[in-house]
Amino acid sequence: MTEARPEHPVIAAWHRRPLSSRVGSRRFRRRLVIATYAAWLAMAAIVKLLSFGPLPFIWLSLLMVSTNIIIQLMWVERRTIINTPALVDAELDERLVQSRNAAFRTAFKPFALAALIGWLLATAATQLQPNSQGYLNSLILFMGVAMLATTLPTAIVAWREPDPTEPEPASG
């Protein structure tokens, strides 16, 4: 007897949560984008400050990694039309596909630049400071680039998507 495999795309689609069209106002979304990256920078600064105290390197790196995971879950795991960069083509219409492709195109240059600068600085940090401070600086840079890689296209869609259309009066 053939057993149904739950990982098959057709079967996986049965369990997929519906895509939400609720997108929030553009002003709210732009504030959210700024707040997200500001929160990450603040966390990186806190971790750097804590590194001068008695906290061991492993706890500081766990703090940085968990910050990244929380932000990435908030931005990537939702299923709204703002999250088009994380959705498959079959769930998107032509406008959303265009919006997603434009976001990837826009994200490519700043991400490539950030990745290059991050790699150079991380290499310099580990070479010039072969101690826990150097490794921490390197880790922070790596986490910053990793966060841009996963959240930047979605943040660009959130920034650009127009205000949602007004709700229609309920038909009775």
Partner: protein
């Protein structure tokens, strides 16, 4: 910026008592996309424009135009008077 394409989707939808969701389901697009089309925030592809026109049973130029539309009532009664 690309010149905007004007459309009568909102009027036609209201005339037929369709919700945005019903039209979106019928032509296979997202609910918000219908709103953006009506508001002029998005210009449809030729394929989508044809699908919408076919759904309403009208020629393409009756639904989409690059020039402002004359009111439907004046077009309708204007023709009747001249005939």
């Amino acid at each position: 910026m690309a010149p905007s394409i004007l459309n009568r989707i909102g009027v036609l939808r209201a005339e037929r008592g369709l919700s945005r969701q019903q039209l979106a389901d019928a032509v296979g697009i997202n609910y918000q996309t219908v709103g953006y089309l009506e508001r002029g925030d998005y210009n449809p592809s030729l394929e989508l424009a044809f699908r919408i026109a076919e759904y309403f049973g009208l020629p393409l130029e009756a639904v989409f135009s690059r020039q402002p539309f004359a009111p439907m009532s004046s077009q309708l009664y204007g023709k009747e008077e001249s005939a």
